[in-house]
Structure formats: C-alpha cells, structure tokens
Amino acid sequence: MAKEHPVKVRTSDFSVYYGQKQALFNIGIDIFDRKVTAFIGPSGCGKSTFLRSINRMNDLIDGTRCSGKLEVDGIDVYGKEVDVVTLRRSIGMVFQKSIPFPKSIYENITYGLTLTEKRSKDELDHIVETSLKRAALWEEVKDRLTHSAQGLSGGQQQRLCIARAVAVNPEILLMDEPCSALDPISTGKVEELITELKDTYTIVLVTHNMQQAARVSDYTGFFLMGKLIEFDRTRSIFTAPSKKETEDYITGRFG
C-alpha cells in the first residue's frame, strides 16, 4: 500500500462501546487526505459507528465509550483539550436520512455560516450560490431560494444537505449512505459530486452499494462484526481481495 498522500485520519487500536456492548474492535486505519474512502460491510457491522466517531457524534448517545486513538491531522480527537464544536465545524457530515431544516433553502445553506460570526449579505449570497453549484443544485433552485426546503424532492434535499455541509468549508466530509433513498438519476448526480469534491475534501463514504464503492472510491474498507477485516485500494479490494471474508462479501456469497 503505497502512501502517496498524507494521512488525514488515523486510528490505532480504536474500540467503541455502547454501554456493555462493544461495537468496534481495535480499528487501525489510515484515511488519506483528499481521497474517497468507502466503507462496506453487512448491516450492523459498525460502519456508521466508525463514521460518527470521527466527528464525535457518538458523544450524543448516553453510555458510549471509546478506547484507543483516533487522530485527525495528528491531533487526538478524544483528547482533553479538543473542543467538540470546533472539531465538528471542520468535519462535515451528510446523513442517510437527509432532513433539511424547516427553513428556506437559503437559510439551510447559511445555517452553519452564521453560527460563529456575522457575515455580510453579499458574502452569504456568494457562498449560497457556490455551495449550491458545488452540489449541482443551483440551476434547480436558484429561483426559489426563499422557499421552504421541505418542498424539494428527496434527491434535491439530499444535495441540499451536501451543499449545507460544504458551505462551512470543512476539511473532511463524512457521508453515511447518502444515496440509499435516492433514485438512480439522483444517485448518479451525487456520485459525480463526490468525485468532484474529492479535490478539496477528504471524503469518507459508507455505502451498501458495491458498484458505488467501486465507482467512486479510491480506498475501500470492509467491516465485519465490528472489525475492520480488510483495507486497501478499491481496485485491489474488488479484484484481488486478500481475505476470504471480503471475497465472500463482495461476490455476494456472504452469510
């Protein structure tokens, strides 16, 4: 595994527990800067748990603990001096079930921007436009920015949520099954988007769609029952997996 790119997220011996139940076992992984890393694996194997550990979203769940190390840019994310709010600001997240805020399209995009500082109308207008363009949504909504975001279609809402996350200019973009509720056309748009966004962001993508992982990702990790079974370049994983479990899973012989 040649490392032509710097490491953005690095974990070693990282485990997560929900109360008594251990969900992740000693994960060690290097996620590379400005690459798309996909996580695949059967339901309940811990993909979301791992993703949510990176921006400490699991802190919100009572009784969650973790052990081991998880570093972003060499900084221990679970270290005492880390401010969770600042951390989350630099790590965007797109959820499986995308819900725009019940506000206007415009306000959805500016939500994250206005949390810390006042910005001029011009600046906001500009960011709204560029974010929506990045999310390939601008053409469809530019005439109704003040309308409620809940009037958008499911696919548009998902892209709006991507635009919302991109607007605050994070360094990492975590996407948890962003296409699972979308039709093939919307899925195609989001996939195109991911490919474009990776020039700027480190993208971590959870997907149940094997073809999707193969199409858009540079690296793929295969999780099984809380363990990271295999992690390698996507091409290697899909053409020559080194573990039998991985092969069984991607060829559909799993279970």
Partner: protein
C-alpha cells in the same frame, strides 16, 4: 379475494359490528351531553346577556348590573398566568428533554415532582400561594423595601399561584413537543458546528412552537375556570374600581358565579345572572383557546 372473504366468519363480523356500535354510542352520548350542557347555558343565560351586562359593574349587592370587572379580572389573571407559567414550564421541559440524562436522580426527582404537582387538589395551591407568594415573597419584598405593597392578596400572586398549578400541563406538553423533534435535525445542526444551546434555540424550539402553544392552551383552559386556587390570594366579590396594578385585588368570573349562587341574599333572583356569567366564562375560555389555536395554525403553515 374469495378465499379472504370466506375466512372472515359471521361471528367475527358480528363482533366487529358491535365494536363499531359501542364506539358510536359513546361518541353520540358525549356529543349529546356537550350539546345539552351548552344548550342549557345558552337558553337560560342569553336572555340576560346584553351590552350593559358585559360592560358594567354589578350593582345592588351583585343582584343587578353587569359583570365587567369579573371579565376584566379573569382575562388579566389568565394572561399574566400564561406569561409567568409558560416560560418557566418551557425552561423545565428543555432541561428534562435536552439536558438531563434520563437516568439521573435529579431528573427523576423533577419528573416525580411534576407528576405529583398535577395531582394536588387546587385548594392546596391556594394555601401554598398564601404561604409562599404572599407571606414569603411579598412579605419579603415589603420587609426589604419597608413598604406594605406586596405582602397582601393581589392579582400578581393569584396569577403566580395559577401558573404553578398549570405548570405540569405546560411541562408535559412542551416536553412532548421537544422530544418529537427528529434526532436527525439536532444531529445535522450539531454536525455543522452548532453548540447545544444554538441547536436548541435555532432548531429545536422553532420546531416545537406549536407544542408550546398547545401547552399554553391547555394551561389557559385549566386556569381560566379555576376558583379554589385563587380563593385566598387576591380574588374579591366586589370592587370599587378596576385593578390598575398587579398588586391590586380583582374580581373573577368563576368566583363571581360562586358568590352569586351561595352568598347572595336572594339566590333565586340571581339564577339568570348565574347562567349568563357561566356563558361568558365559557365564551372567554373559548376565545382565549381559539386565539392560541389560530396562532398555532398560522405558525404551522410557515
């Protein structure tokens, strides 16, 4: 479909028929009761209703004249109660739903207190109002300021007492509304780098406005008709002039009704007045309720 139909035996169908019958009878009975109740008051009371009745003060030992001071007193009382109770109730609900760990002893204690409060007879709240608000708080203020303004029954203390009485209703309905806000919305906000407080004020509360209003509506409904709780804390059976400050005493529709029906020298004579007063009390409760419902439906559409 044929096979489906044949599996439903006639016995089952009969049972289903009876289930529907029972529910229909119950609904009809309730509606009938409501109609006959309102009917009585409308028929018996509307004869007495007039512009003078609504706008003038009672005369001749409450046997003549109108009930304006009582309408005024009740309205102000209920508004003040809402103003005092809803913010406190909302704050408590926010604590319970957003900050407290569900297992924490303190949260459980608060919940227990709220539930207990809901079951306490209202007359007890009246006594509490005397002891706590009038003597402790009001008396305390008077001691410090060397005055004699707050340490006596007043509109303010009656409102505060009612606010405490209606707190459980507010807390329960607001907490329900807060909990109904999807977890995804909170997480989306937090993931964008919002603090917990920002998430509460910008996402959770705006999404619960209708729940907060529902709480207010229920509180108004409960508070407007409450008499026992305000007996000792500021209500009077007749007034020289309208209260001009929250430290004045006041007249109240429910209490007026009680006075008319028990304290009058000639109860027979006041019977039409009683019906009319009841009608006005019901009407006022409806107006307060419907304005809140109207506001809520307006907010929902946005």
């Amino acid at each position: 479909m044929k096979t489906l139909a044949s599996t439903t035996t006639s016995k089952k169908r009969l049972l289903g028929f009876f289930a529907v019958l029972v529910t229909v009878v119950a609904v009809v009975a309730i509606i009938g009761l409501l109609i006959s109740m309102f009917g009585t008051f409308v028929v018996q009371g509307s004869g007495q209703l007039s512009w003078t009745f609504l706008t003038e003060a009672p005369r001749n030992n409450n046997t003549e004249g109108g009930i304006f001071p009582a309408i005024f007193g009740t309205t102000i009382l209920v508004l003040l109660m809402t103003l005092l109770g809803v913010p406190v109730g909302t704050a408590t609900a926010i604590y319970l739903s957003e900050y407290a760990r569900q297992s924490a002893a303190f949260a459980r204690a608060v919940r227990f207190a709220v539930n207990t409060l809901a079951g306490v007879p209202s007359i007890v709240f009246g006594l509490f109002g005397v002891g706590f608000f009038i003597q402790f708080v009001g008396g305390g203020i008077d001691n410090v300021t060397a005055g004699a303004v707050f340490g006596k029954p007043a509109l303010l203390w009656a409102s505060a007492t009612l606010a405490v009485l209606t707190l459980p209703v507010v807390i329960v309905s607001v907490e329900e509304a807060l909990r109904a806000v999807p977890r995804e919305l909170r997480e989306a906000s937090l993931a964008l780098g919002a603090t917990k407080w920002q998430t509460i004020t910008k996402v959770v509360l705006p999404n619960s406005v209708s729940g907060i209003l529902t709480g207010s509506i229920l509180a108004v409904g409960r508070g407007a008709g409450e008499v026992a709780a305000i007996l000792f804390v500021g209500v009077v059976y007749s007034l020289e002039r309208l209260p001009s400050s929250v430290t004045d005493q006041f007249m109240h529709l429910g209490y007026h009704l009680y006075v008319l029906s028990t304290q009058s020298p000639d109860v027979e004579k006041t019977l039409p007045l009683q019906y009319a007063t009841t009608l006005v009390l019901l009407g006022l409760t409806f107006v307060l309720n419907f304005s809140a419902i109207y506001v809520r439906s307006r907010l929902r559409r946005i």
